[in-house]
Symmetry: C2
Subunit: 435 residues, 2 copies
């Protein structure tokens, strides 16, 4: 099956951010065949048997690769807006953890679908998750058509270690299902919740499965302080010394970094996930984005979970990131809009080690495409569409989303998720777990 | 003519932020007659002659008072996204000013309609503006149905003073037109663009017309430094000493304030307009919002002009304000969501001295109402709707907007502005003025 999107403005987000005001995209099954100027599309390419060519008209819209949400906890949609404005410790210990203990097998399926619906609606086509009940989330990903990199969160050691490691093995099986849309990473939660032996086992698991590592790193000043007190070094140096950087590492937050940390990360190609809304909402601080970029660190964007953001829109993170980078550094030229979009697309793909498959609109890449409606007054007068998108755009502008060649949202209507059913099931779960 | 909005969730944003999950709103002509629980609506109130009662079904939506954008330069939509990522001085002197000089009488009418379309689409019903060509903007306000407080920007002295003061007199005439939707303030631009004599004349004009003063105040560290160098005091103290605080003063930005400044502002009831996106985008800094609130200063929200934001959505400013207040202070309890909504509604009305007319949904107030669609996944599970709105909502969720009893947007379709015509006229203007 071939699909042609005609009359479409394209910014490819490839290495040169190529811009085709009058473009066409052709994809066959799950793969892009052409993305370029309409005038350059060889008519032989769109030859197809009757009924095997679908045509979409993209007039008035901008095509971008789908956004990558490089760090979230999708099932935490359960806790969106619950007990806001509470100090972190009280919030965690008195609200979130007691509720999490009441979660049962199967719950995360519906909670993940709720998060998937929100992400698709805001142009996110791929997310990287760390949480529990990961096979529930894998089933939801399989059913809704999204692409995901899933990590079973590891903490300890405690009496549940064997169970957790068994769940990693189960999750690994999912890499052979869902048309290849699911990948796995090993997810040691952090240096403050994982003893060195768990971090070392995580490294071994990553080696065994040939996958990367997904970890929370230097999120709060307290974490760094505690790590220095305990191990005599920063969390970054600690992970390095335990050999974790020999594997591909994706590190969420990276708010409190020393120059030495950044050099180490750049040298070992540790990829950072910037989560500005979460870092501000939990008062963790401002990540040194500009400084990380100067060090050559690959920087992507994440929403974190809906319990601490409270939304899953990468478009919103782009905007917030571009604004606070300027406010924080006092330099109006810090983090230009185009760089924020790169973080949400090409660099996001790199963060998940998926750069050969997604992150740009190029022949051979997977057909993960979003069409953004530029007809609203906030996109006028016409200027660089990426500037308008970052500073003026909102999630409701995302009109159509294609993942792996499947249309999962058309004209703002989700095609793979029954929202009313999801709301009903989520309400049922919430009623059971709420304190 | 009476209009009944039934089956509507209401948060009144009155002094107690009353919340009616199952409410009804009745307004007659331009005024609210009832806003409360459905069960409390006296059936005699909705009695009307045939054809004189319109009924709207608000199911699935939340009614709030329309947002107040307390500081903008609406005609600067012309410069949205133009020459981003340039140092401020180069941007102003080489791009913006030369283009502004090419603006002609009549241009601001279309540029204002573009901004009005964007504001209505994002739930803004009232804005406070400072710019040139104010009678053009007044005409646009009159035609599109919005409510506005308009200030002719004053600078100098220079050879154009007489013309500027004449324009103030012309603008004053508009207060008798457009069903009372237009008010005036006197707009001395700032302490760094107005010599003391212009500030004093501004005070006299405000006295003459019985209106308030709208001024940029302590926006950048450079402004404060220069003022201290020139007059030996901060901009706040400088305005105070010139007697301006004897009139109602609305001060935009207020980023760089001393404790003495804040005490002075609180004591004289100088109202501040927080413009977080603009302050970050231009790298001006973070306003001490938490500190201002602690001092008891009335704090509202503004987008600033589209040349420096680049959008006109107060919903977005609410979100940004609530996030950065926490990031900046390191206190996760700073500026709770509900306070951000108060700044966008009730306190916004106070900032414009319109608290007797707008800012809350109460009998006797003007029917300036927005209906927000809560059906999206980002509003689930159901929790405090204001928390969801601030942290998860986006402008596309605004479904219907009523101003002064007139429906100006229904189901996302503008009823008073011909967008295609506006785009055409704006394109024509842009083509003429662009460098």
């Amino acid at each position: 099956m071939k699909t042609l999107i005609k009359n479409i403005e394209i910014i490819t987000m490839d290495d040169e951010n190529r811009h085709y005001p009058e473009g066409a995209i052709l994809y066959e099954d799950d793969t892009i065949v052409y993305a370029g100027p309409s005038s350059g599309l060889d008519s032989r390419l769109i030859k197809a048997e009757p009924g095997k060519l679908k045509i979409m008209d993209g007039r008035g819209m901008l095509a971008l690769p789908g956004f990558v949400n490089a760090h979230t906890h999708i099932a935490m949609t359960a806790f969106r807006g619950y007990a806001d404005n509470m100090p972190l410790w009280e919030w965690l210990s008195q609200r979130i953890w007691p509720m999490e203990e009441r979660l049962e097998q199967g719950d995360a399926y519906w909670l993940s679908l709720l998060g998937a619906a929100e992400m698709i609606s805001s142009g996110v086509t791929t997310f990287s998750d760390m949480y529990m009940f990961m096979t529930d989330t894998a089933q939801a990903v399989s059913d809704c058509g999204m692409r995901a990199v899933l990590s079973r969160g590891l903490t300890g050691p405690d009496e549940h270690m064997e169970q957790r490691y068994r769940e990693v093995d189960e999750l690994a099986e999912w890499q052979r299902k869902a048309e290849g849309r699911i990948r796995m990473m090993i997810g040691p939660h952090s240096v403050y919740t994982c003893a060195p032996e768990v971090l070392i086992t995580s490294r071994q698991l990553a080696e065994k499965y040939g996958v990367g590592i997904h970890v929370h790193l230097s999120e709060t000043a307290g974490e760094v302080e505690e790590c220095i007190g305990k191990y005599g070094k920063t969390p970054v140096r600690h992970l390095h010394d335990l050999g974790l950087f020999e594997l591909p590492v994706t590190a969420a937050h990276c708010v409190h970094l020393t120059q030495d940390d950044m050099e180490l990360m750049a040298g070992w190609n540790v990829k950072a996930v910037h989560c500005p809304s979460s870092n501000m909402k939990l008062a963790s601080g401002f990540a040194p984005v500009d400084d990380m970029l100067r060090h050559g660190i690959t920087l992507s964007l994440g929403t974190d979970g809906a319990a601490s953001n409270n939304n899953l829109s990468i478009l919103k993170e782009m905007s917030v990131a571009a604004l606070i980078a300027k406010g924080y550094t006092g330099n109006a030229e810090a983090l230009p809009a185009v760089k924020a979009v790169e973080m949400a697309t090409r660099m996001g793909a790199e963060a998940l080690n998926l750069q050969d498959e997604i992150g740009s609109l190029e022949p051979g890449k997977k057909a993960d495409i979003q069409l953004i409606d530029l007809s609203g007054p906030h996109y006028h007068p016409r200027e660089d569409p990426l500037v308008h998108l970052v500073y003026s755009g909102y999630s409701g502008d995302i009109n159509t989303v294609v993942i792996n060649g499947q249309v999962v949202m058309q004209d703002r209507v989700l095609t793979t998720i029954d929202l009313e059913r999801v709301y009903k099931e989520v309400d049922r779960i919430i009623k059971r777990i709420r304190y």
